[in-house]
Subunit: 228 residues, 2 copies
């Protein structure tokens, strides 16, 4: 389901209270707030339910609707994107705990097209491994919002007979260390942020699995500050 | 144009920087971020331009796009609705200057179905006139966002051979005075908030045309606090 078919109806339901508890909502009324027919609104609800954004219970007098955590997170992500936009970029603070990756970051960084693109964009020689941070609830949502912003682009490429997706880089810092956050286009985990740097961050910052870390990421919007 | 056809593409354009200056945007790229074809994205841009949400300039190498103040205000309103939702209701502070109305408020309040509904909802005898406050820029946007929230409902009715639209009431205060904000369903002005109270507020608060006033409006979301 496309975002525009989800965000608007979810907001309409949220305005009726459906974020916080199951509420009785008339499809005719919902339709009119969204500028569509009762049938249209009814279709939308079916799709939202199928996609897991809402729960519905049918009764003789009508149905009750509740927005699921998945639905709430989508609205919240949308909210944070707009918040960052109207703050004209600035910084996003992401908190989480250091976790051990599956060696994937290290593998990607070992591929020449990748490492050379990174070297060019960051203007540093990058340590061949990523620091992985599993984000807490709200940080995970802010991270997803961040993923919508344009970063420094690494193009997709082919190597070793495989095709590799591109990635985006964002300037960031952990404490006093200048680092970069890297977001692969095709990512497995949504709630883990991968950080690269010229040093081993585990050593430089004395981190081990479970250490609590805050990554402060710079959000750049074209046309603000340094232009592209 | 329905909101869902505006908010999502405007956000996509804003993420490319179009809120702050004209930017070069490829329709193919825009389409892919919105999950639609290049043709689809191109249609959307045409509609946004016709509705006054964006400006476009075509050149040999592609077009430049800039979000207009109207488009920015729509996104900002959407942002403030979500902000209020995630604050779980709470208060909205609206600032503006006292202006003279056109006697419309007084006329409506003189109609029995209206005045009786208001009396029942507010549990007070209402002074037969409204205090009108012309809101400043950001407050006007917050006020529009507030209008999406459910209030105490006054139903439409017929009187003197005419049909009258309904209205919503919100509890509010100005200084220490308990007041209500009334939002007619069919409103002429979007940027003027009408306030009612059991007293003449001009007298009680010593206000005259041009006085700066802050109205603190309670936002209620069903299911939070007092339920309906």
């Amino acid at each position: 389901m496309r975002n525009d078919k989800v965000v608007i109806p979810l907001r309409a339901l949220a305005l009726r209270g459906a974020l916080w508890s199951p509420v009785r909502i008339k499809t005719s009324e919902l339709g009119s707030t969204m500028g569509m027919s009762q049938q249209g609104a009814s279709q939308v609800l079916k799709r939202l339910e199928r996609a897991g954004y809402i729960e519905r219970w049918k009764g003789a007098g009508g149905s009750l609707i509740h927005i699921t955590p998945k639905g709430r997170d989508l609205l919240l992500e949308f909210y944070h994107t707009l918040k960052m936009l109207f703050a004209k970029g600035g910084e996003v603070r992401l908190k989480g705990r250091v976790v051990r990756g599956m060696g994937e970051g290290r593998y990607y960084l070992s591929l020449k097209p990748y490492s050379e693109a990174i070297k060019k964009l960051t203007e540093t020689e990058v340590y061949p491994g990523t620091l992985n941070i599993a984000l807490d609830g709200l940080s995970a949502i802010k991270f997803r919002a961040l993923s919508s912003f344009p970063g420094m682009e690494i193009m997709p490429f082919k190597a070793e007979g495989r095709s590799f997706g591109g990635a985006k880089l964002f300037r960031a810092r952990i404490g006093d260390e200048q680092v970069h956050v890297i977001i692969p286009q095709r990512t497995h985990y949504q709630d883990v942020v991968e950080v690269i740097s010229e040093k081993s961050l585990r050593e430089a910052l004395d981190l081990s699995d479970g250490s609590v870390v805050e990554v402060v990421v710079e959000v750049n919007i074209p046309g603000i500050g340094d232009r592209d």
